[in-house]
């Protein structure tokens, strides 16, 4: 009994409840038609959200003012350069992956350098650096859409027993993220910094080293997402990362991570990613107009966040 009550105090449960509720509503509306296919699509697209949201979660947990706004530009730059370098050749797949990850790491390092050395607040630093990265992508590619190597495209769309392969891999990534957050010095350090940076420093947490690692990890994950997304959707485009800016933050917050920092959880990311996709699908299925859809999306997100923060926060 207390176990059941305990689970309702978890901040991440509301995103999952929301996801299941909108899925059931969609399935009821269509009388069960296509319910499993919708779920499969939600897992695929949710996986991309989770990759970027995982990095964003660690950044946001660092405390007030910490957020990475360069995610879309980083995705675009990594995706376009990797696709152009591979140029559809299967042998270049690992090279492309390394390039995407290296671009991500580089972007993260530049972001951190701006924050640390020039003492620019993270929001401004990552926003301004994103202009540079986006322009670099435009300059390098001029809107080029190069098809991904075929094996890579097949890999990102493959399914095992109806479950998208990419979703399985991102679940493993999420488990790793969970262990990193809750079971390592690094993860506890991130949470400690978010709760009180001075106390964390006095307690011997290597604040700057952890902040650097967090920004670099976040951008590297964005690079990975750009690489996989361009393989999945048949090529990279200059505007491919656009909707991942707000989504990455929304997924983190709906998932029950505190936007003020210091409290985070990984299970909520998956719940929130599925919820966001299923919510739009539900409203599309109902045939709601764009205006109604945006209003409802806003209201439902507010509802879930209020519900998630209703109980006392626990770490």
């Amino acid at each position: 009994m207390t176990g059941v009550l305990h689970i309702f105090r978890q901040p991440w449960i509301w995103a999952w409840i929301g996801a299941v509720a909108v899925w059931l509503a969609t399935a009821t509306f269509t009388q069960g038609r296509g319910a499993t296919e919708v779920l499969s699509a939600a897992m695929t697209f949710g996986a991309f959200f989770v990759i970027v949201a995982l990095g964003q979660m660690f950044v946001i947990t660092l405390g007030p003012g910490n957020v990475d706004l360069s995610i879309p530009a980083c995705m675009t730059l990594a995706g376009t350069v990797a696709m152009k370098t591979m140029d559809g050749s299967a042998g270049m797949i690992p090279v492309g992956l390394l390039i995407a990850l290296a671009i991500g790491a580089g972007v993260g390092a530049i972001n951190y350098a701006l924050i640390r050395m020039l003492r620019i607040p993270p929001i401004i630093a990552t926003l301004s650096s994103s202009f540079i990265f986006q322009s670099a992508a435009i300059w390098w590619n001029r809107g080029l859409r190069v098809k991904p190597p075929e094996p890579l495209g097949d890999f990102t769309t493959a399914k095992i027993a109806g479950v998208p392969l990419i979703a399985l891999l991102v679940m493993i990534l999420a488990v790793a993220g969970h262990v990193l957050l809750t079971r390592t010095m690094y993860g506890r350090g991130v949470v400690a910094i978010g709760q009180n940076i001075r106390a964390a420093h006095l307690a011997g947490v290597k604040v700057e080293r952890i902040r650097a690692a967090t920004y670099i990890m976040c951008a590297t994950l964005a690079g990975l997402c750009g690489y996989l997304l361009s393989a999945f959707s048949g090529g990279a485009a200059l505007n491919m990362g656009e909707e991942y800016l707000l989504s990455s933050i929304a997924v983190v917050v709906i998932g029950g991570t505190s936007v003020a920092g210091g409290f985070a959880n990984v299970p909520g990311l998956w719940g929130a990613a599925l919820f966001l996709f299923l919510l739009v699908t539900m409203l599309n299925t109902f045939g709601a107009g764009a205006g109604v859809r945006l209003v409802l999306t806003g209201l439902i997100i507010i509802g879930v966040i209020v519900a998630a923060s209703g109980g006392k926060r626990r770490t």
Partner: protein, 339 residues
């Protein structure tokens, strides 16, 4: 050779019955392009066409300068400030692709009051003193349905992919589509999603709604930039691919070509050529030249059909959009068509 071309142009102007003062040339005039956004392949092609055509015009001495300026953030305030700067810099004409139909009216009025000719295109402005080269987006939407009506005489279920919610272009194209559906009376739009004119967003939206739709979807009406994503989503769902109307993007055309070669797939593709910026340039040049130009002009569509697919695909840059660049004569034809 250059003299001959110039002479040809002058003759053309004279022949088209415009003011004789057309010979009072525009070689000392400076034209600026104020552009609100450059972050997609269409806009990149638009800027590329501008550079190419105006570069030649400057070299030939038709105008003194034709510089392009793009704002960073697609924001009204920023573009208004940019236009004010262009007035101060003394340009004789400003060609605008506007971030908002009304938001720039103040700055445009200032320009007119300062004696600067303002020609808006694609993203037009409503300020009466400016010229407008508008696209009949409604007709474009209607043409899609009329094509499907010819091709699919039985009619059936359609899926509509819309653009960015709240943008005028999206409302217009969609209104045209719905008008076409009402007039032909044999189609039903069973689903409608917003694809934001982006391939990945469309793919995601279509993949989400597809499982809940009936199996017999015969056509997909689109707004451009979204056809390839729709095709990917149908393929991933293991469904028969319906007739998807394309929007002239390279990925859409090359996908169409693959299907055509493999299975005789038939469709059509329609959009606005990014080179419309060059049409706006020539219109501005004509106004500076003293020509009598009506305030409202209409851009022709660039439509690709089954038989001219290969030619258009060959002329389209990889990752770009099918394009045509306009000449002075094209501009004069558009002007005389409107007056």
């Amino acid at each position: 050779m250059k003299t001959i071309t110039t002479l040809g142009m002058v003759t053309a102007v004279a022949l088209s019955g415009m003011t004789v003062s057309a010979i009072a040339d525009t070689s000392d005039k400076r034209i600026a392009l104020s552009n609100n956004y450059a972050g997609n392949s269409w806009r990149q092609a638009m800027l590329g066409s501008w550079e190419k055509v105006t570069g030649e015009a400057v070299e030939n001495g038709t105008v003194a300068a034709a510089d392009a300026f793009t704002t960073a953030e697609n924001q009204v305030t920023e573009q208004a400030a940019q236009i004010q700067n262009l007035i101060l810099q003394g340009y004789d004409a400003i060609v605008v692709n506007a971030a908002s139909p009304e938001g720039l009216n103040g700055a445009v009025k200032e320009a007119c009051d300062a004696g600067v000719v303002v020609v808006s295109f694609d993203g037009i402005v409503t300020e009466p003193c400016a010229w407008r080269i508008a696209v009949d987006f409604k007709q474009m939407g209607k043409d899609e349905v009329l094509y499907l009506s010819d091709k699919l005489s039985e009619g059936g279920n359609l899926l509509e992919i819309r653009g960015l919610a709240g943008v005028f272009v999206d409302d217009e194209i969609s209104a045209g589509i719905h008008e076409g559906v009402a007039e032909t009376g044999k189609f039903e739009i069973v689903g409608s999603v917003h694809g934001n004119w982006a391939q990945d967003v469309s793919q995601k939206a279509v993949a989400g709604i597809l499982p809940s739709l009936p199996d017999d979807i015969v056509g997909v009406v689109t707004q451009g930039g979204d056809g390839y994503g729709a095709a990917q989503a149908f393929k991933a769902a293991g469904r028969d691919i319906p007739v998807i109307v394309m929007g002239n993007r390279h990925d859409e055309l090359s996908w169409w070509k693959e299907q055509k070669d493999a299975s005789g797939y038939e469709t059509m593709s329609v959009s606005i050529a990014p080179g419309v910026s060059t049409l706006a340039f020539w219109v501005a040049q004509q106004i500076l030249d003293g020509a009598d130009v009506p305030k409202d002009l209409t851009v022709p569509f660039l439509r690709i059909d089954q038989d001219n697919l290969e030619d258009n695909l060959a002329n389209t840059e990889e990752g770009g959009v099918a394009n045509v660049e306009y000449t002075l004569e094209d501009a004069q034809a558009v002007i005389s068509g409107a007056s």
